[in-house]
């Protein structure tokens, strides 16, 4: 692993290269199992398609519930993909090597989070407006949806990483992860779905998007540290 | 006295609220007592081992 990084270990400014390395590695690994990524996207599409079937095909109702449904489905898809963040590396011992390495764990964990977002959040940003057509939302609303998801899905990955690290290796970690993380997701849901709703009603989504952006900044600053601490705790 | 329980017609709500709250607190205390008994019993069972260990150490 040190050879792959090809950096002198006694340099103190290894955070950025370490992060780049972690992103590249995790994206490469994720792309090897493209089917898994496809399944997660398909999950999103299926869940979002269930709600009209459960309620009504009437357009007026669908536009009302559309923003909320599209966001809740994104939250659920995120939860589904989170265990993958650390579990595979934990199972074959790589995670322990990562923790023991001289490179900053925060950077390595941060890189894994970025990679997670690239492989799960970013595809959602692209796919969601297409799914949103089912809800009779107009183009402007759908573009706000994409933009809101662009800001919001990284927050989901950042907060989710803390939960994934805390529940590493535990029984029924999937449901436990959901219980721990969903309350923390509430502000993202409120501002994200609220942004789409505001765009739909013509009120203007700038306030919501600004708050989402602020949330992203806070999460970027805090979450990698908390996740790194949680990884250390899980491996002790 | 009946006025007190009737609470001007809102007796059901007031006493359901206070009643469940009181019940919750009682359950908490009793559960703690039961847990304390169980834990002390467990400690009692470990006791001979602990005594044996300190004995063997000396």
């Amino acid at each position: 692993m040190a050879a792959a990084l090809a950096i002198a270990p006694d340099r103190t400014d290894t955070a950025w290269p370490a992060l780049r390395w972690a992103v590249a590695r995790d994206v490469k690994l994720a792309l090897r199992s493209r089917a898994e990524l496809g399944v997660q996207l398909l999950f999103y599409v299926v869940v979002a398609s269930l709600f009209p079937l459960a309620t009504t095909p009437e357009r007026s109702t669908l536009t009302l519930i559309g923003p909320g449904v599209l966001w809740v489905a994104a939250l659920l898809a995120s939860l589904l993909s989170l265990p993958r963040l650390f579990a595979a590396d934990h199972a074959d011992g790589t995670l322990e090597q990562i923790v023991l390495s001289p490179y900053p764990l925060v950077a390595l964990v941060g890189g894994k989070i970025v990679a997670h977002w690239i492989t799960t959040g970013l595809p959602l940003v692209i796919i969601a407006p297409l799914v949103g057509l089912q809800y009779a939302l107009d183009e402007e609303t759908l573009s706000v949806l994409a933009f809101a998801l662009l800001i919001g899905t990284p927050i989901l990955s950042l907060l989710g990483a803390i939960g994934a690290a805390l529940t590493l290796g535990l029984r029924s970690s999937g449901s436990l992860l959901a219980l721990l993380i969903l309350p923390l997701y509430v502000p993202v849901l409120v501002f994200g779905a609220g942004a789409v709703e505001a765009a739909r009603t013509g009120v203007g989504a700038s306030a919501h998007l600004s708050l989402l952006g602020a949330g992203l900044l806070i999460a970027c600053v805090g979450a990698p540290f908390a996740a790194a601490a949680a990884v250390r705790i899980a491996l002790d | 006295m009946t006025d007190f329980f009737a609470m001007n017609g809102y007796g059901f709500y007031v006493w359901s609220a206070y009643g469940v709250a009181a019940l919750a607190l009682v359950i908490e205390v009793r559960a703690l007592r039961a847990r304390r008994r169980a834990v002390l019993e467990e400690a009692r069972l470990v006791q001979p081992e602990a005594a044996a260990m300190t004995g063997a150490g000396e």
Binding site: I162, L166, T167, L170, R171, S172, S173, L176, L179, L180, L182, P183, L184, V186, P187, V190, F191, G194, L211, G215, I218, G222, A226, A229, A230, I233, A234, D236 | F4, M7, N8, G9, Y10, Y13, V14, S16, A17, Y18, V20, A21, A24, L25, E28, V29, L32, R35, R36, V39, L40, E41, E42, A43, R44, V46, Q47, E49, A50, A51, M53, T54
Partner: protein, 247 residues
Amino acid sequence: MATSWFRYSSPASFYPLAGRMIRWFAAAAALLAVAGLVIGLVVAPTDATQSDAYRIIFIHVPAAWMSMFLYVVMAAWSAAALGFNTRLSAMMAQAIAPTGALMTFIALWTGAFWGRPTWGTYWAWDARMTSELILLFLYLGIIALRNAIDEPRRADKACAVLALTGVVNVPIIYFSVYWWNTLHQGSSVSVTRAPSMAAIMLAGMLVMALAAWFYAIAVILARVRIIIVERERGASWVASLREVRHA
């Protein structure tokens, strides 16, 4: 001075201290509760708008205050546990969670029964009740994580990280729910407004709040003593306790 207080950071020396403290807090809680209930249920006058249904605030508001206060205290003990790596700090945090969750439940239940006669429904998605519900989920999450991890020290630290993550998020969650609620509120009625506080009503609420606080301290100290015995089972000082030697 510092050494004399840190002496109590060992479970063995804190255990008897806590035992002595419990009875005082329990007695104070009982007296304050009686006084508070008398004020709230008997002395305070019937409200003009909400009639006698408002009397629920004397249990609802203290419970809600305690639910939030206990979460912050739990987070403080969690920070101490991570910062000083002390077992007892983590045990204190572990002891607080169930009582915090109970206070949250009481706040939600009494709030629902206050809501039904005053604004017509058991549950209204107003900012405070919704945030309180999410707070309950946060408490239950910490308890669930504690139960899911077998190894006690890992559980200590994991729950500490979770509690600290939560405490940072609670204001954000409250703000987001408040924002969401004000945007969607049709009428301008603040559904959780207590009747304008006559001094006697405020006094009753404060007395009950103090009673709730002392109750919580007593119960939490009792629980932490149980946790100490549970986790320090093999230690010789536990074996020599009077309550362990004699059934």
